[in-house]
C-alpha cells in the first residue's frame, strides 16, 4: 500500500493505493491519527487506486470518522472501485459514511 498525501487549503487528501488489509491498515491509521493530532479537521480519502479492502481497513476508516467528529471535523471518501464499494455495502458502511465519486466532489462535500 502507498499513501500519497497532498493538501488543498486546509483539507488533507490521502490517495491510498493498493491494498488496505490487516497488514497495511496500521500505517494509514497512524498517518490519520498524526494528522488529527496536529489539528486537521478536513480529510479526504481518495480510493481511486485502492484495489482491495478488508475489515481491518474498515476499522481504520470508522475510527478516523469518529475521531474527526469528536474534533468537529469531517472525512469524505471518494472514487471507490466496484469491489470496494461492495464491501462498504455489505458492511453497512455505505449508510454511515460520506462517499462521493471524485476528489472534487469530496472537497465540495466538506465545504457544505
Amino acid at each position: 500500500m502507498q499513501i500519497v498525501e497532498h493538501r488543498e487549503n486546509d483539507t488533507f487528501i490521502y490517495h491510498v493505493q493498493g491494498r488496505l488489509d490487516s497488514k497495511s491498515s496500521p500505517e494509514l491509521e497512524k498517518r490519520i491519527g498524526d494528522a488529527i493530532g496536529a489539528g486537521t479537521t478536513a480529510m479526504v480519502l481518495d480510493f481511486e487506486n485502492l484495489d482491495y479492502i478488508s475489515s481491518a481497513g474498515l476499522r481504520v476508516i470508522l475510527k478516523a470518522t469518529k475521531d474527526l467528529e469528536k474534533a468537529n471535523g469531517r472525512i469524505v471518501l471518494c472514487a471507490l472501485k466496484d469491489y470496494v464499494q461492495e464491501v462498504f455495502e455489505i458492511s453497512g458502511f455505505q449508510d454511515i459514511l460520506a462517499i462521493t465519486p471524485s476528489v472534487n466532489d469530496a472537497i465540495k462535500r466538506l465545504g457544505t
Binding site: 490487516s22 497488514k23 478488508s54 474498515l58 466496484d82 458492511s91
Partner: protein
C-alpha cells in the same frame, strides 16, 4: 473465461506476519486457476478474515505456535476451501452478525469479518472433530460475469 482445475494446500501459523504468505499462496492459486479479479478478491477477503480471527482468537490464553491448514480445490467451477486447526471450538455459522444498520456512534467492527466471509461464500459447513475445527467453504465461481464487469468499464 473458463477457469482451470487446480488444487493447493498450505499451512500457516498463528502469526500476523504470515498474512504475506497467505496472499502469496492465493496469488499462485489465482494465476493457476485463471480466477477473475472480483471473484478472487472475495476469496482473498474471506480467507484473510478467517486467518486474522484465527490469529487473534483461536488460541487465546495458550502459548506457542499453532497451525491452520488450508486446502483449496477448484473443479468444474466449484471452489472448495477446507480449513483445519486445533484452536478453540469455533463455528463461523453460529457467530452473531453485527448490526449493520445502527448509526455511526454505536457502530462497531466486531463481527464484520464473519459477515464478509458469509457473503463471500455460498456454503459453509463446520465440524468439530476431536480437538480440531474443520470448516469447508464452497463458492460457485461465476468467472464470466466478473470478466464482463471488468471489460465493461473504460479505465
Amino acid at each position: 473465461m473458463t477457469t482451470t482445475d487446480v488444487t493447493l494446500e498450505f499451512t500457516l501459523s498463528n502469526d500476523m506476519a504470515e498474512l504475506d504468505r497467505l496472499n502469496d499462496q492465493l496469488n499462485h492459486f489465482r494465476l493457476a486457476a485463471g480466477l477473475a479479479t472480483k471473484c478472487f478478491n472475495e476469496v482473498n477477503l474471506a480467507l484473510e478474515e478467517l486467518f486474522v480471527n484465527f490469529v487473534h482468537y483461536a488460541h487465546t490464553g495458550r502459548y506457542g505456535r499453532h497451525a491452520i491448514r488450508f486446502s483449496l480445490s477448484l473443479a468444474d467451477a466449484v471452489l472448495t476451501i477446507r480449513t483445519e486447526d486445533n484452536g478453540m471450538a469455533f463455528n463461523p455459522m453460529s457467530a452473531a452478525s453485527p448490526d449493520t444498520k445502527c448509526p455511526l456512534e454505536q457502530r462497531k467492527i466486531g463481527g464484520l469479518g464473519i459477515l464478509l466471509i458469509k457473503k463471500a461464500m455460498d456454503e459453509i459447513h463446520y465440524e468439530r472433530l476431536g480437538q480440531r475445527n474443520v470448516t469447508t467453504f464452497i463458492k460457485y465461481i461465476d468467472n464470466d460475469a466478473t470478466c464482463l464487469e471488468q471489460t465493461a468499464k473504460p479505465s
